[in-house]
């Protein structure tokens, strides 16, 4: 590593430094629109280590996809990108297209949500896979095709040799997603960015695909950045988790810490609003309100308007990611210690919800903050 970065800023153990593959620092992305500048990502920092699964969780519009698209140079020209991202010794942000193309699909690859629109319908899958090889390596097309067949076999497509000559529409949704995974690993990447890889799939197929993803990760020794809104998927596969809200990380830590001992009210609220599969969950506790507009967002903590713990300081200063009572577990909440004091932090929302129910009887709306935006 050439970059000298203050290790305390990352919350990571300095002894595992050499394993860091990707380091993102203070990444911001804005889009100019007719209504003003949309601050989609507002200062995101994280690192990804070799062989780990790092999950970025958040609800729609929180900036989770945009932040990774920026790394891959996949955003439209109008996007204003600031900050730094380094893959080993290489800068990724605001680099000439020719340079980015050298990494993209090669060292860092991507799997998208919708396998139907990310495959070209008029070429056979074998040809598309071979194309991915030929874009980065000077080898005979016949060899590239061989590699394609091998990869289809690796991701569990039966009769890979014959299937390589099929077109995308001849595959089912799950099989198409396997093809996407094959394409992502064909150049032996070190990082795979999987953006909602199973959202379009049925649960029984989702289970297969997640299995496959973890298997191939081991096979090629890659790290995975998993972007998803599904807390269940995260719990099953992630080593570390970053929770995003309104363009920033509001909590990060090991999956175990974030799920069992959340230190940010938003995380606790999310966990409390999911119904349980294994028991009758009683009344669900929604998080009141909606995320703020990212055009000139309000001062202070962006979650303040929905937060049961809101205090004066929350309205004026935006909390940084504080270190908490646990190592490598950070929370962007001025009052994380209050959250920590609750053995079950979802209770915070439960009490607030009761109060709101009484208001509701008096005729107030529940998720009304975005009306007329």
């Amino acid at each position: 590593m050439t970059a000298v970065i203050d290790p305390t800023s990352s919350g990571a153990d300095p002894s595992v430094w050499d394993d860091v593959l990707l380091r993102v620092e203070d990444l911001s992305v804005s889009f100019p629109t007719e209504d003003g500048l949309v601050e989609a990502v507002r200062g995101v920092s994280y690192e990804v280590k070799r062989n780990e699964v790092f999950a970025i969780v958040g609800e729609s519009g929180c900036g989770k996809s945009v932040s990774t698209m920026a790394l891959m140079g996949l955003l439209p020209r109008s996007a204003q990108i600031d900050g730094r991202a380094r893959y080993l010794d290489n800068d990724l942000i605001n680099q000439p297209e020719r340079r980015v193309r050298g990494f993209r699909g090669n060292n860092i690859s991507m799997i998208f949500q919708d396998p139907m629109t990310s495959l070209n319908p008029v070429y056979t899958v074998g040809r598309q896979l071979a194309e991915a090889v030929l874009a980065h390596e000077r080898i005979a097309p016949r060899k590239a095709k061989e590699r394609a067949v091998e990869m289809l076999d690796t991701v569990g497509i039966p009769q890979a040799r014959q299937r390589a000559d099929s077109y995308p529409h001849e595959f089912s949704g799950g099989m198409r997603q396997r093809v996407m995974i094959a394409m992502a690993i064909i150049n032996n990447p070190e990082i795979i960015i999987a953006d909602e890889p199973t959202t379009a799939l049925d649960v029984t197929v989702q289970a297969q695909i997640l299995d496959t993803l973890l298997e191939v990760k081991e096979a090629v020794g890659a790290a995975i950045i998993l972007i998803t809104h599904d807390l269940g998927v995260v719990a099953g596969v992630a080593d570390r988790v970053g929770v995003m809200y309104a363009g920033r990380f509001v909590e990060d830590g090991t999956a175990d810490a974030v799920f069992h001992r959340p230190r940010m009210p938003y995380t606790a609220g999310l966990l409390g609003s999911v119904p349980s599969l294994t028991s009758d969950s009683g009344e669900l506790i929604p998080i009141q309100g909606a995320p703020p507009s990212l055009i000139q967002p309000p001062d202070g903590c962006k979650f303040a308007a929905r937060c049961p713990l809101v205090a004066d300081v929350c309205l004026t200063s935006e909390p940084p990611l504080y270190d908490t009572d646990e190592p490598a577990h950070r929370s962007a909440c001025h009052r994380w210690d209050v959250v920590a004091a609750e053995s079950d932090a979802t209770v915070l929302f439960r009490d607030a919800f009761r109060d709101d129910q009484e208001l509701l009887v008096a005729g107030t709306d529940t998720d009304g903050s975005e009306v007329g935006a």
Partner: protein, 343 residues
């Protein structure tokens, strides 16, 4: 649960024609999207209908309302046969049978203000003065947690959760006794979803409405339903009381489906036994003979291909269609903790 059945669906079949391509299209076959489906729903009861895409759950919901004309079978609603009812009679009955759609972005007319969207059913079915209608619309908006001032706004000014509330207000306008909820919260973020689910449950208690709750999210279905039916390739493979079906499923498909749902708890996820089914749902154009699940079932034997298993009661309040039902405590053989696939 019920005693008095509000809705009785018997042997419902819905076929869609497959047409040849070209200028002179010919019908070359039929897809049975819903194949001999029967169930009852009692007053103020919720039947959850789950299944993967292509299982026919949405088509069932629409066929019950005759939004798709059923090919065969009977739908009795409040003691009257709905299938084959004359248009005029049917219109009268529609007041009592409503639907809320999945996509709150596509199901509201973007050029109509909310007052008109919610008031339109009243305009069609009720003879009310303008003032009466406005009063009623304001009440409805209030009932679903929106403020009456929102009525002059247009759908694009609302968030997903609020749009879904508008769709619910429209469905409530004529005071129905039965609503088909077709994936009503699937398009919503979890924090918002919880609010809409609570609203639906409260409305049911206040107004004694029965729901057919169609969803692929098994956790949400467990939360809202009294009874649950599991569909696979156009057939109900298991149906029963909510807790029985979730705790002691007897059909291998239900067992596999439940085991595949990820649970938001890393500790549980690491030790949970998961049945990873192989392959995908077969095409409904040419479904497997006998039991339709047999091509993915680890318990399948010759008899499964030869004979279609009937729905049989396994314990009080639970029926399933399987030649080799899961015994209590039986561990499925293709259980995997990491993976089933071999390299």
């Amino acid at each position: 649960m019920s005693g008095e059945e509000l809705l009785q669906v018997s042997n419902l079949v819905k076929e869609f024609p497959i047409r040849s391509s070209g200028f002179f299209t010919k019908v070359v076959g039929q897809v049975q999207a819903v194949s001999d489906v029967s169930f009852d729903i009692g007053r103020a009861e919720t039947l959850g209908l789950v299944g993967e895409s292509g299982s026919g759950k949405s088509t069932t919901g629409r066929a019950v309302l005759r939004l798709h004309e059923p090919t065969a079978g009977s739908v009795m609603f409040e003691g009257r046969e709905v299938v084959g009812l004359a248009a005029k009679e049917m219109q009268r009955l529609r007041r009592k049978m409503q639907i809320v759609f999945q996509d709150p972005y596509a199901s509201l007319n973007p050029k109509m203000p909310v007052n008109d969207i919610v008031g339109e059913p009243l305009q069609i079915h009720e003879s009310m003065t303008r003032q009466e209608r406005q009063k009623r619309v304001a009440d409805l908006l209030d009932d679903v947690g929106l403020s009456p001032e929102h009525g002059n706004r247009y759908p694009h000014e609302f968030s997903g959760g609020q749009r879904q509330r508008i769709g619910i207000a429209r469905a409530l306008a004529l005071d129905p006794s039965f609503i088909v909820l077709d994936e009503p919260v699937s398009a919503l973020d979890v924090s918002v979803q919880a609010g809409v689910v609570n609203l639906l449950k409260n409305l049911q208690t206040e107004r004694d409405i029965a729901y057919l709750f169609i969803a692929h999210d098994l956790s949400v279905v467990r939360h809202v339903s009294d009874r649950v039916a599991v569909m696979y390739l156009g057939k109900i493979v298991e149906i029963g009381d909510r807790d029985v079906i979730y705790e002691r499923p007897t059909h291998p498909y239900t067992t596999a489906l439940l085991s595949a749902v990820p649970v938001p708890d890393p500790t549980i996820e690491k030790v949970r036994q998961r049945i990873v089914l192989e392959g995908d749902v077969p095409s409904p154009v040419d479904p497997p003979s006998g039991c339709r699940f047999r091509t993915r079932c680890w318990k399948a034997q010759d008899v499964c291909a030869a004979e279609e298993p009937p729905l049989i009661e396994r314990e009080p309040g639970l029926l399933s269609a399987c030649h080799f039902p899961m015994a209590p405590g039986e561990v499925a053989t293709p259980v995997s903790l990491g993976s089933t696939f071999s390299t």
